[in-house]
Symmetry: C2
Subunit: 219 residues, 2 copies
């Protein structure tokens, strides 16, 4: 029996984009089920009863939740094609460290820009720049975070690039002016079909976040 | 050449306890270097320049940071003895999910009890109970989170047990009254030498947190 693979996801989720990229890199077919994150479906609530969040990968009826855990699951079930993690344990730990850093910092830094105003937004810009500069320093002059090959940290970070236009527009600043190597890296990633077809458009994300601000009564 | 293994840790860190337990389970020898978390050493700042936190495992001069990443590193370098993660990918994903849930919830829930007063503390108690009840439901009637064997989720959670006395004393309540199965599980874990010798005493943790409260000007 062929594997049944369903992805519960939302077009704008940078975490969902990770899973879409990993599945595309490995050439794994799946059914995509778009979720309304503002009005969650019974299926999503059932499959991720604890966090109630996308993405959820349902493999033969069994759900796997949380994007990094899904990435590692995909890697372990389909290890042969397009490995995301390096084989060396120390390099794997380093990749996990930076993906974990991204999860702990980038979304919250960005949210302080798009979901606030005034001083709080200014503080958010400063915080996001500090985070992105740490990432740019780690990237250095390498083409990808892991070296010459597109891999785990690239997959973990690149979805945020589709939110950069919103950060820049709400914050009235340029990320490229401060972090040119990081933007060059994102454009390099976007040359891959797996990334290009998984990322959302920046203007669409900006418009969506404008709607969320209205709904939350901001401004 | 034999491996040189150094652990930078703090006696009261539930995250450091994870690493001590895993190394003890696998019978791996290492040098323990106690760190003053209120006055960080140049070695700690150098070895974990990004987060500046214990635990750090230094293997032949190379640092691995963040406790769950250290656990997985240990598992990958020394896979044969006392495996912490199950071999089945879906079970591994479940173990990672619950350890991640613990990391996202338990410390912050507990901190609202010991580092606040009044209404905020009451809210913290409610929050911590909700978290612990989710964990107790996941444990169910199994001896350990993964089933019959002590494993990854047990290692991730049991260090928090050494903070329960402080939560209960600052919050004036009993966790056992609400979560008897969870307490029975913790006592079961404590029958293992690896756990018994790694956990801090509850009264010592309570006293330390009292000092931290004073230092932070709480009360």
């Amino acid at each position: 029996m062929a594997d049944e693979l369903i992805l519960l996801d939302f077009w704008g989720s940078m975490y969902g984009m990770r899973v879409r990229i990993a599945l595309a890199e490995k050439g794994i077919k799946y059914e995509y089920k778009e979720q309304d994150v503002l009005n969650k479906s019974p299926l999503l609530l059932q499959m991720n009863a604890i966090h109630k969040k996308v993405p959820v990968l349902i493999h033969n009826g069994k759900p796997v939740c949380e994007s990094q855990i899904i990435l590692q699951y995909i890697e372990e079930v389909w290890p042969d094609k397009a490995p995301l993690l390096p084989s060396d344990p120390y390099q794997r730990a380093q990749a996990r460290f930076w993906a974990d850093f991204i999860d702990k910092k980038v979304y919250d830094g960005g949210k302080k820009i798009w979901a606030t105003n005034g001083e709080e937004r200014q503080a958010g810009k400063k915080e996001l720049f500090e985070i992105l500069k740490v990432l740019e320093a780690e990237l250095g002059d390498k083409p990808y975070f892991g070296g010459d090959s597109f891999g785990y940290v690239d997959v973990a970070l690149v979805g945020f690039y589709s939110w950069f236009y919103a950060y820049e527009t709400f914050g009235n600043f340029s990320i490229e002016a401060e972090c040119p190597k990081l933007i060059a890296w994102a454009k390099r990633c976007l040359e891959r079909e797996s990334v290009a077809k998984s990322l959302a458009g920046g203007k669409k994300v900006h418009e969506f976040l404008g709607e969320v601000r209205k709904m939350w009564g901001i401004e």
